[in-house]
Symmetry: C2
Amino acid sequence: MLLSHKSIRKYKSAAVSEEILKDILLSAIRGSNTGNMQVYSIIVTRDAEMKKKLLPLHFNQKMVTEAPVILTFCVDINRFNKWCEMREATPGYDNLLWFYNATIDATIAAQNACIAAEMHKLGICYLGTTTYMSEKISTVLNLPKGVVPVTTVVLGYPDENPELTDRLPLEAVVHYETYKDYSQDEINELYKEKENLPLTLKLIQDNQTDNLAQIFTNKRYKKEDNIFFSKEFYNFVLKQGFKLN
Amino acid sequence: MLLSHKSIRKYKSAAVSEEILKDILLSAIRGSNTGNMQVYSIIVTRDAEMKKKLLPLHFNQKMVTEAPVILTFCVDINRFNKWCEMREATPGYDNLLWFYNATIDATIAAQNACIAAEMHKLGICYLGTTTYMSEKISTVLNLPKGVVPVTTVVLGYPDENPELTDRLPLEAVVHYETYKDYSQDEINELYKEKENLPLTLKLIQDNQTDNLAQIFTNKRYKKEDNIFFSKEFYNFVLKQGFKLN
């Protein structure tokens, strides 16, 4: 099942039952987490009005309003801090280390939710737009200080059956014992299949670029946009009370 | 299976077959990832000498040398950048946004690997020590600029069968439509079960503290340690070429 994962971007309107949603959420919280402190929260969106508010913040990807369930996974030290303060314990988790730990834990919970959903024949798709628009999403979801959205998953019954997307060969990504840096010949070899897929050749033609790499750097994820959204994200994480340096 | 996950800290010496390891690694790279750019790498450690070098960096947790396989999941823009530069494309991924995206993607790959391992009746345990000791671990694993270890997973055949660990009730972690902040009564109610577990009561007695929260703040994850390791991690991420602010 893990080997046949495909992101689903078209959903039937059929609801996800309470029982299945509960299994997905319970699977999420059973994942490993740092010190079993559970410094994350999950926001469930099913209300049509809420979805409409989130839609533009996820760059108008239709699945946000079409999928029956949206889950936003968040770093959350607010609950843990409140508990500590009520127990005369002084928390010290508003720093990079714990923002990072909590990000990992929230992501493990998210991936467990995705796999539980797929076990129930549901489709899922991650929305990377969450980090781009973290402040506005947080306003809609009413996230207090100490809480930052990490990633969003939409889920529901698939209304499409796309092909498996490509991956680099395993040897491009896996190193044994120590990291073996790449020669130019190795880069050419490892990217050859990806660069020659019919889909890639069509993309290059449609985008009128020289090659696939330029589609990433000049069209999809441009340096100036990355810098802009990095600053936005940094400022928001700071505003939520985390010191990142 | 997701609902019965337990971290395993004692392993049999039996090796993991090449076939099973390959399935685990293939499952890891099939996970969702931002833009299908695969800006992560996985380092496999099986060599006894390498494990001995990693052991103190993971605070001498015995499973590092006892488990047959250790996987270190890393943020990696080195490979992607090399490819871009060879294609006259200017990469712009050395910033917070992409460090964060790649962290999420590496973690999704890690959790897929864990679930694939558990499907093969293997046990797993995450090592949070990776962020504490990122620079020294990177030296041992020979990680170049652009590569930062995110988390480590040990895996092998279990030599123990521990009880399920507790979790907060689902309603502590899940919010519907908007985040509902916690009143003091709610915090008391949500932490009641955890605070009254026999294991918790024993821990409080052994540690001679007033309550469980103080074990976290005064013993396990102290503010001054968190600040120290945050600075170490920040400096190392910077050294690897990422600008976090």
